[in-house]
Symmetry: C2
Subunit: 247 residues, 2 copies
């Protein structure tokens, strides 16, 4: 059982629930009610936050760190079905148990709400259900985009797709200037990337080496990535557009 550890965040300003998950159109008193039922939890890298099938008594959003959602077959084959970055929502109002394992990839901090009070509040506050619906539709779009990656792309395209998604999310999160060079640290091991892409870790390693050799990416060490030409990367990913990310 993961153990909860108290965290001190000075200000709710850090809590993405306030900004993205729930409150885009909320009134002040709703914010206050949310504040009253929220609490923080932290987990260490490698800890499983929730096991697939187990009851989950909270919902919340990721404040710091990286988590993954994954499904595993009896024989050990696993497929990652989601990557959670700060500001992402975790949990399913109205559902009993978790549908997949949620695992902390790095040390992380979550802002949580006990499920019952949150659901009561949701019932009283139409905006919240609407906001969650919007977010869930976004997740559904992302999952379906990933189905195209898994079903139809080559290993090289898969790697390029993953890198472009991480680069995009990183840039959005850090409000980077649009024309700045894209630089980031890979938040995943080769094995985790393989689980996300439906490949083996050897294939991931080989394709990363190939992209590096061809100048699509620049690697310093094993994790630090620079993208000299984002359009080029998108091209390698087989994407027909940049999703409005670049001008």
């Amino acid at each position: 059982m993961p153990q909860a550890i108290a965290v001190d965040l000075q200000d709710c300003g850090d809590c993405p629930i306030r900004h993205r998950a729930v409150c885009a159109r909320c009134e002040t008193d709703e914010l206050e009610r949310l504040d009253q039922i929220k609490y923080y939890r932290s987990y260490e890298a490698g800890q499983t936050i929730v096991w697939s099938g187990e009851p989950m008594d909270f919902v919340g959003s990721l404040v710091r760190g990286i988590a993954t959602l994954s499904q595993t077959m009896e024989d050990g084959r696993t497929q990652m079905v989601g990557l959670l970055l700060p500001s992402d929502f975790v949990g399913r109002p109205g559902r009993r148990g978790a549908a997949y394992d949620v695992v902390a990839t790095t040390d992380l901090v979550m802002c949580c709400f006990r499920k019952v009070p949150f659901e009561e509040m949701m019932a009283r506050t139409p905006h919240i259900a609407q906001r969650l619906l919007e977010m869930t539709l976004d997740e559904l779009d992302a999952a379906r985009e990933w189905m195209l990656v898994l079903g139809r792309k080559t290993a090289r395209e898969k790697i390029a797709s993953l890198l472009s998604i991480i680069a995009r999310r990183d840039a959005t999160l850090n409000l980077r200037a649009q024309d700045a060079k894209i630089v980031f640290d890979l938040p995943l091991t080769r094995e985790a990337m393989a689980d996300y892409l439906g490949l083996t870790l050897e294939t991931v390693s080989r394709q990363i080496s190939a992209l590096k050799r061809d100048g699509v990416i620049v690697l310093e060490g094993k994790r630090h990535v620079t993208i000299p030409d984002f359009e080029r990367l998108l091209d390698e990913a087989g994407d027909d557009s940049d999703g409005g990310f670049l001008s």
Copy 2:
């Protein structure tokens, strides 16, 4: 542009919106308001109902027939990302355009609501957003389950997974007795199955032949399928459980 054709449905009892999509907990007057803004549309097999990226001015649910959601790359590779059977909801309240192509696989009938009035009603009626959130979470689970199929299963397991999903949905829809022999007609061509499974149509054909040879399924003609032992099929699919379908 698909042309709308008037359809006569005797009774709203046929309209799954009433039963599943929206109204599980609705009051009578909400049902009446929904009735006032709804209309029917029919499409012929092969028609594209919505093109990816185009504006979509309605939402609705499938009354009769089969439709598919799919994404296509510039070079023609396509991946089906969803299979719509009667009672499934189509459209995304709060969104401008469609994210994927929606194509009628058979002749079909939809029960539609113009988007703006539907959204207005949603804003006034908290139950509707909550019901749609539940449905969207179901779709998200299904999409993520499919990611495991696409990323980690073998061709044979993929075919068995697809057959078990169709069998399950068919049984649920037709309220078949749990112990009845499962018999249905495949609603998809081999090519469509291939697009769903991330395979080629030749591989689909070969694996279906293999499952038939091994007695996992019985085929009459090209489409009519009998499942003599559903547990066996699930086993071939690599599923660890039957999802509560059988006792």
